[in-house]
Amino acid sequence: MFGYIPLGMAFGVLFQSLGYHWIFAPLAGVVIYAGSAQFMAVGLLAAGVSYAEAFIATLVLNSRHMFYGLSVMGRYPTRGLSRWYLIFGLTDETYSLITARPPQSPGNVHYLVYLTGLNQSYWVIGCALGASLQSFYAFDSRGFEFALVALFLVLLIEQVRTMNQRWLLAVALSTSVLAYLLTPNQFLLVAIGLCLVTLMVFIRTGGDHG
């Protein structure tokens, strides 16, 4: 089962706080299709940032997806429309579902497209449900933002299961604290940048045999 319907609903409810027509919430799910970036978009839109700032912020937030691509590249088809749809739909949830299964032969493209398409459908339905319910009933949505933290935490637990060097998590926690104290406005960029540098040094010095 997928957490995408309730999470999409949480997004839809939060999105309605901006005051646009509810149809724009599922539209965001169709066009952008990125859970955490859409949550961030609510904050960015509320703050009235420019297109350029939104572009950079989305690049930074979603930069983790580059490394998802690396781990599923061998399973994806090498050409065709399905290849580009699968790349477009490579969200956190889809990535964790795909990598949770043993590697498949490249012939199993239909299954991958089915999985990715089903995930996006759940997400769009969730966005539509949350935003339309909120626009008709206007219920109290305070606290719904915790759904995003819970999603990241669940994904973290799933990824830790297959990780060899778990002390690297302490490194990531330290870089987060450091970035929070030094550059809270560039938190994601600095924290992830420091993680990347540490990992590069570690791998270069030959410490990683996993």
Partner: protein
């Protein structure tokens, strides 16, 4: 921002998202199994997820001891539920439910 500008905003974010997802496929089309990249692919995602959990916690605007305690309790519930049932939906709903109840029901 009007409706057209809002749609433009979505398109901008969509392009940025697609770039991050497509980059390895375009840049590394020839190298299918690069061992150093494999190691990055294994270790970096969980590290980034730690950073994102912290990022999410920052956005909760924890400005009181009560709010901090509630956040810690909700995190604990997510971890416990996931350890026992390993059911993402249950873990997310359980933790969020407790957090929402604390905020709305107890005014934390």
């Amino acid at each position: 921002m009007d409706n057209v500008q809002l749609f433009g905003f979505f398109v901008v974010m969509s392009i940025a998202t697609f770039i991050t997802r497509a980059l390895p496929f375009v840049a590394l089309a020839q190298v299918r199994s690069h061992s150093i990249l494999d190691r990055f692919g294994k270790s970096l995602p969980p590290m980034i997820m730690v950073v994102l959990v912290c990022f999410g916690l920052m956005s909760l605007e924890i400005d009181s001891v009560d709010r901090g305690g509630l956040s810690a309790l909700a995190l604990f519930i997510v971890i416990t539920l996931h350890a026992f049932f390993r059911h993402p939906l249950l873990s997310i709903l359980g933790g969020t439910g407790v957090y929402v109840a604390g905020i709305q029901g107890f005014g934390l």
